[in-house]
């Protein structure tokens, strides 16, 4: 046997994409570029059922034609990537990059990782009752640790900017990476040769190329969410709190104040501040400076006080900012005309909610009135908000705002809120951590209609359990477990079981 080290090794490329992202076309472009660049190419894929939104892997091996001609025989190229043996991994999304790493295809000794850092959430992240998103920071760190070189940025945004699919941006980043021995021009020719959408592809390709060249191997930090822009008048109002509160608390409370002023009026925001006062005092006494309980209470109270009734929804729907945003998102051009249709499904409950308390409960309790209201809302209502009549109808509902304080729902919310605050204060006097956990529970009440009823019922279970946990050694973690159980399933069976188990234990 003669020298085995002599022939060059094929360059191996694995593409991790999602169905419908144009991974096949990206593969074609790579094939085209490599063939023009004097390489022999083999490419394959296993689309299978994954063509429908699942994860798909394309695999390409290329080998210099000249070396094959010198040897006088064809190279034998593999049909699937082997862990540790991949030169270039292209991932169309951050979690897919993670998948490539998990499967061992990205290794520090040889892999150039080209990954888009945007997220396409998986179904279990999307459908969870709570927040089930995976840890993006960990995934970014993994990219840095696993690969020899990394080019990672939001290529979907680049593609969107150019009106193309992400494949063109990925290809641009590949061209700029220098991982393949071909000139930029060869890559560009491959894109141009592709008949459909050549222009937008070209634009995305170039934009991503430029960005990738500027992109050092260092990771980009995730963009931090900007705190809400605060009106100076609001900040001024809270001046007296400034020396007492941490920056974070102040900012959050400012947001709360602003929200409630917008929701109702100044007086309503003052009520909010009054509710927070005991907690501010409590945190000062505690003197830790992290204000954890205050933060939770301030957050939950603001959201609770700004509950979503028909008046609020109508008000938000008719705002000029909203219609401007919709126009912008639609990318309205020239003579195009845009219409907005809103979907509602008011039931008797929602109608009674905004009526004055006495009338509201009368409607709820009188069968004939119920029937009448049910008929109003049955089958849902669509409102063409961009027509004069449609807009006016929402406008009228929104103008019930001054009457809100007398409404049935307002009274009920107020009572429930003060009951909750009392309970927290009671718990906080004995067990600060348990109070923090209990404060976190409030935000699980959300949604409209049945959803609201269901989440409120779950909350009630927790609210009943919390005071009983007082004095137990690991009360906060028990309550946290109950809260997590409440977010397991819509039927509430996990919560029921958890509570039952608690009773036994």
């Amino acid at each position: 046997m003669t020298d085995l080290a002599a022939p060059p090794r094929p360059i191996t490329i694995a593409i991790f994409a999602l169905g419908g992202e144009g991974g096949g076309v990206l593969t074609d472009w790579i094939v085209d570029t490599a063939e023009r660049g004097g390489y022999l190419v083999q490419a394959t894929s296993v689309p299978g059922v994954a063509q429908r939104t699942g994860a798909t892997i394309y695999y390409v091996e290329i080998f210099p034609r000249a070396a094959a001609e010198t040897a006088g025989c064809e190279p034998v190229l593999a049909l699937m990537p082997t862990p540790g043996q991949v030169d270039i991994v292209i991932a169309s999304e951050l979690m897919e990059a993670g998948r490539a790493i998990e499967r061992g295809f990205v290794t520090p000794d040889r892999t150039m990782l080209i990954a888009s850092t945007h997220r396409v959430y998986s179904i279990d992240e999307r459908m969870a009752l709570g927040d089930a998103r995976v840890d993006e920071t960990a995934l970014r760190e993994a990219c840095q640790a696993a690969a020899k070189q990394v080019i990672a940025f939001d290529m979907q945004a680049v593609a969107d900017g150019a009106g193309s699919q992400i494949n063109a941006a990925l290809f641009g980043a590949l061209a700029a990476s220098g991982a393949l021995p071909f000139s930029q021009e060869l890559f560009e020719r491959a894109v141009a040769a592709h008949a459909s959408a050549a222009n937008s592809n070209q634009a995305a390709f170039t934009a991503a190329s430029v960005k990738a060249m500027g992109e050092s191997a260092s990771s980009r930090r995730p963009v931090r969410r900007k705190p809400g822009r605060l009106r100076p008048s609001v900040v001024a109002r809270l001046k007296h709190l400034r020396p007492i509160l941490s920056e974070e608390s102040l900012s959050l409370i400012c947001t709360g104040v602003e929200r409630l002023t917008d929701y109702q009026d100044d007086e309503y925001a003052n009520e909010y501040l009054r509710l927070l006062l005991p907690f501010i005092g409590l945190e000062r006494e505690r003197g830790h400076g992290d204000d954890r309980l205050l933060l939770e209470v301030a957050r939950a109270t603001a959201l609770n006080m700004a509950y979503e009734d028909a008046i609020r929804v109508a008000e938000l729907k008719i705002r000029s900012e909203r219609l401007a945003r919709i126009d912008r998102e639609a990318g309205l051009r020239g003579s195009q005309v845009l219409e907005v249709t809103d979907f509602f499904h008011p039931r008797t409950e929602e109608i009674a909610d905004v009526l004055p308390a006495a009338l509201g409960s009368a409607v709820k309790n009188r069968p004939w009135a119920r029937r009448f209201c049910d008929r109003l809302g049955r089958g849902g209502r669509t409102v063409r908000t961009t027509t004069v009549l449609g807009y006016l109808s929402l406008y009228l509902v929104a103008s019930l705002k001054p009457l809100r304080r007398r409404s049935l729902r307002f009274k009920a919310e107020k009572a429930a809120l003060s009951e909750w605050i009392e309970a927290i204060l009671h718990i906080a006097a004995n067990d600060y951590e348990l109070a923090v956990e209990f404060a976190k529970c409030r935000s699980m009440i959300k949604g409209y209609g049945d959803t609201h009823a269901r989440t409120a019922a779950s909350f009630d279970v927790l609210a009943a359990a919390a005071p009983m946990l007082l004095g137990k050694p690991n009360a906060p973690s028990i309550l946290r477990q109950l809260r997590e159980a409440a977010l397991k399933d819509e039927e509430g069976s996990a919560l029921k079981n958890a509570v039952k188990a608690l009773g036994k234990g």
């Binding site: 429908r52 459908m127 995976v134 993994a142 917008d262 639609a330 979907f343 949604g447 049945d450």
Partner: protein
């Protein structure tokens, strides 16, 4: 004709002598069929061979020029039955489908065909859907070759080898009067490569000529007493003839190496993987030079005894690299060597896993075990290399990375496409289950099977294509909670009309059968079926409504829904079917065109119309982030890919907000959900009118002006109160 154009591919079918074909493996097979002078082909679509069927469907001109008949068969049994034309006539033909599911369906025809044998070459091309990305149960088609005594080709996965296998396959079939199966794995079907083409050949005898001079050979008909004779003929004449041909034509390949006291026997399809593993162990190079001798079985059934014995001569051990289970080849080799009293040790499943795909790392691990046992000095080199590297920081970094990704990579099961018309059917079932309790749901094969996965989690079993109704037949009696059977239009025409619907009528079933009628066999790439819209298919006869067929076999209770997106109607029809006191099977036909194919068809049309100044309305949905409270009931009831989550712009909220991406096609289910289910009022529909009329524009201007005035009042009111 699917909603995709295959003109470019069809061009490749016309390549002539000495030209270079570049393209996919399965298309190379298509070209090789024409080069082999077939007179006819028949097939049923399914990954990974759909492309062959699609291209031949569209290649009418090429086929006419060559006098080749192509038929899109009703199912795989029909495709193999078409090979009957090669029984008595010297005519070549091919059948193609996905396997092993296709062979399962076709096995009746295949057994009959194999019994009598063939005169003209008969090739069955099977796309073996096994391993990663497979959509079916994991079995081997190999067993069918053994039980029916048909020969099984498993060529090396490069285009020249695949093309040669097609051409030699016909010769082998004729030399041994036996149908031949050509097995191609998923990756081989999709592999991009090159080969030198030859001219296409017109069949020496056409179907018309055969019909003009019918031949009747009762000896070839599988009917007793001929069947008894057939069995003997298979063993005594056909099989030896096949073995002789395989040996003479060197269909199997031996690659010698210097470590010749050991050897590897492998399926041709695993050659590239095995060679790469050897290369990584430092025992082969990229051009296929190997130190360990290889016996590559491009024919995996039958084995060629003399060849095998020659290969094993002087070897202390061989390793059989055979994917899947049971290990038919290894068992056969054991028998052959034992009978010949050859002492060579046989390793195989002892060192390689019994089940699962043979990926590169799997084969490498098996090879290493084999070398350690029989040539440890060859294995040492590899281990040294590894320990050098292990000390490096690379391993550490990789370990850190693995720790970071742990738990942060979630599965991505396939799901209904954006705007899929099947989604509202399962949303409706979910709503009904909330009201009337959960149901036993018998599923079928097709996109609708995704109902089993999140977010719907609907479906108890699936028994095979067209068998959704039959799968519920044991539960067909009177019951408080009637069972539901789901079946697609693909499965319905494949065999569901008889097996699921007629069966239910005959047995007085009470089951509710939902027939998902989206106009295509969508899961296999959007091919037309008997009930597809007639204007879309000019080649075959379509436009035969399912309702007519269902009524024709005696179903009385039928409801046809013409728009599945109308959620309330869909729900009410299903509810009625589940609760009606009428006796007998209840059938709900839920129609709406497959959105993937619809978009392929309509999008270019709309773009062209807009370009020409025509009025075009585009719709999509949106969610107001300030109104969405982030409960995501909507996602759990829909699961549309365009309905997803985003970081919450509200600093008061931590949990993600729901959002609709630009991929939304405006199917309307979101809005229907709000109307039907009292979901949150954050959904809105945007209609963008391109090239609106002057009246429309004036109207819009007026409306906007009034709205702006009102908005100014809103702002004034807000500033006053604040």
């Amino acid at each position: 004709m699917a909603e995709r154009s295959f003109q470019q591919e069809i061009g490749k079918l016309r390549l002539g002598e000495g030209q270079e074909f570049r393209g996919e493996g399965i298309l190379a097979v298509t070209k090789a069929l024409l080069q082999s002078g077939i007179a006819y082909a028949a097939g049923y679509q399914g990954a990974p061979i759909s492309h062959l069927v699609d291209v031949l469907n569209d290649a009418g001109d090429v086929l006419r020029e060559l006098d080749v008949h192509f038929e899109a068969s009703a199912n795989e049994a029909a495709a193999v039955a078409a090979l009957a034309a090669s029984v008595s006539y010297p005519i070549r033909g091919a059948a193609v489908f996905k396997s092993p599911v296709g062979v399962n369906v076709a096995s009746d025809a295949l057994a009959n065909l194999a019994s009598g044998g063939v005169r003209g070459g008969a090739l069955v091309i099977i796309g073996e859907d096994y391993g990663e990305g497979s959509s079916i149960m994991q079995e081997r088609s190999h067993a069918f070759a053994m039980k029916s005594q048909v020969w099984l080709l498993d060529p090396r996965p490069n285009l020249p080898s695949i093309v040669r296998a097609v051409e030699k396959g016909f010769e082998l079939s004729e030399a041994s009067n036996t149908p031949v199966m050509l097995e191609l794995r998923i990756r081989a079907c999709h592999v991009y490569g090159r080969f030198q083409t030859r001219d296409n050949r017109r069949p020496p005898r056409t179907l018309k000529q055969a019909l003009a001079q019918p031949i009747r050979d009762t000896g070839r008909i599988s009917l007793p007493p001929a069947t008894y004779l057939h069995e003997h003929e298979k063993i005594e004449r056909r099989r030896p003839a096949a073995v002789r041909f395989i040996e003479d034509e060197k269909l199997n390949e031996i690659f010698e190496g210097d470590a010749n006291d050991i050897g590897i026997v492998l399926q041709g399809g695993l050659y590239n993987t095995t060679l790469r593993a050897l290369e990584q162990l430092g025992l082969a190079d990229v051009f296929g030079k190997t130190r360990v001798p290889l016996y590559v079985l491009n024919v995996t059934y039958p084995l060629v005894e003399p060849e095998l014995l020659r290969f094993c001569a002087g070897k202390k051990a061989i390793l059989v690299v055979e994917e899947g289970q049971p290990e038919f080849i290894e068992q056969a080799i054991n028998t052959i060597l034992r009978r010949a009293q050859v002492a060579t040790s046989i390793e195989g499943k002892s060192m390689l896993p019994m089940a699962g795909e043979y990926a590169g790392s799997v084969v490498k691990a098996g090879l290493l075990k084999f070398l350690r046992a029989y040539r440890p000095e060859l294995a040492i080199k590899q281990e040294e290399a590894r320990s050098d590297d292990a000390a490096g920081t690379g391993q550490q970094k990789a370990a850190t990375a693995l720790k970071s990704v742990a738990g942060n990579v979630r599965p991505r099961p396939p799901s209904f496409c954006t705007g899929c018309p099947e989604r509202p059917i399962f949303t409706a079932i979910k709503l009904i289950e909330r009201e009337l309790g959960s149901r036993h749901v018998s599923c079928d094969i097709g996109c609708h099977l995704f109902s089993i996965l999140p977010p719907f989690n609907i479906g108890n079993t699936t028994m095979g294509y067209g068998l959704g109704g039959a799968g519920a037949s044991a539960f067909s009696g009177e019951a408080e909670r009637r069972a539901i059977a789901v079946i697609g239009d693909g499965g319905f025409w494949h065999n569901g009309l008889a097996s699921s619907v007629a069966n239910a009528v005959f047995n007085k079933s009470e089951t509710v059968t939902v027939i998902v009628d989206n106009g295509y066999t969508a899961a296999t790439g959007g091919q037309e079926v008997l009930s597809s819209a007639p204007e879309r298919d000019t080649v075959r006869t379509t436009g035969n409504p399912i309702e007519k067929a269902v009524r024709g076999v005696g179903v009385e209770w039928v409801r046809t829904l013409t728009r599945t997106y109308d959620l309330r109607r869909t729900r009410d029809a299903l509810k009625e079917a589940l609760t009606t006191s009428e006796k007998g099977p209840k059938v709900v036909i839920a129609q709406s065109e497959c959105m993937l194919n619809r978009q392929r068809r309509v999008r270019p049309q709309m773009a062209a119309l807009a370009q020409q100044g025509g009025r075009v309305v585009r719709e999509r949905f949106g969610i107001d982030p300030e109104i969405c409270t982030g409960d995501r009931s909507c996602i759990r009831l829909s699961g549309c890919p365009s309905l997803t989550i985003a970081p919450n712009p509200d600093p008061l909220r931590r949990e993600p907000v729901t959002t609709i991406t630009r991929s939304c096609v405006g199917c309307g289910l979101c809005g229907e959900l709000v109307r039907t289910e009292a979901l949150c009022p954050s959904f809105y529909r945007v209609s963008i009118v391109e090239n609106p009329s002057r009246w429309e524009r004036a109207k819009a201007r007026f409306r906007r002006a009034v709205i702006r005035r009102l908005q100014r009042r809103v702002i004034r009111r807000a500033t006053v109160s604040a």
